[in-house]
Symmetry: C2
Subunit: 119 residues, 2 copies
DNA sequence: CTCATAGTACGAGAGTCATCGTAGTTTGAC
DNA sequence: GTCAAACTACGATGACTCTCGTACTATGAG
């Protein structure tokens, strides 16, 4: 029912929630999926923004698109087009302002768990 | 399919995940439900352990049971019976050891959001 | 024993979610 | 224009989840 077909013909803009629209529950839900948590961890250590294609995820391309959309709509990442690629970055500043320390502790927790479980 | 019918006749024990079995994704998922986040917030400010009945949640009794079970099975809370009541406490120490700072930042984030949205 | 209280088990319904494949669009390179 | 690469839209499917009501069990008070 979302008007995806109304995307402008050459429009390269994507919708992002404003900071005041970001909901903690949605952020936690977005982070609770293994594939999405993995994406966020990769973005967290990346110096540059990354294209969706550079992630080597254990799911299909369409599923990858789905997960990136969930991340974007939850407010965790920002996305923009560059050529044929769709670049993603963590919305660190917005998140830190809204939920101080949250992203950092989740990333630390994920690192610990990966180490613990032999990641 | 879980063998709930094998509960001992007068057994008052409940199954809890050992610390090494607690998974970050499950914890985040447990926290991503509004009702459960509310329960956790109440437990966080309680000085004593609380009975399920003392929460005044906007859902039925059976749904309440369901949410407490999700919280317990994710490793977020510990539960034990006392008389007819089932008492719950946050597993603060276990969580802090596994995921330092995580619970605190989630609670802070929830407080901020509640204040921001007029909670 | 009787009864009220607290919680559970079970089954069901509605909704959401993760996943996929196929077909299509958009872009840049040649 | 042609082509490949990157991503999207759509529809489908199976799984999971939140919710409930009803019937049940366990405990303690009287």
């Amino acid at each position: 029912m979302t008007p995806r077909t109304q995307t402008p013909p050459t429009g390269r803009e994507l919708e992002h929630p404003a900071p005041e629209e970001i909901r903690l529950e949605e952020v936690l839900h977005a982070l609770s999926d293994p594939v999405r948590l993995r994406i966020v961890r990769v973005l967290a250590v990346a110096r540059e923004d990354l294209a969706c294609s550079g992630f080597d995820l254990p799911v299909s391309k369409s599923t990858t698109t789905h997960h990136f959309r969930v991340l974007r709509e939850s407010g965790l990442i920002h996305q923009c087009y560059r050529g044929t690629a769709k670049m993603s970055t963590l919305r660190r500043d917005d998140l830190e302002r809204l939920f101080p320390g949250l992203l950092g502790s989740v990333l630390t927790a994920a690192d610990r768990q990966a180490e613990r479980l032999g990641g």
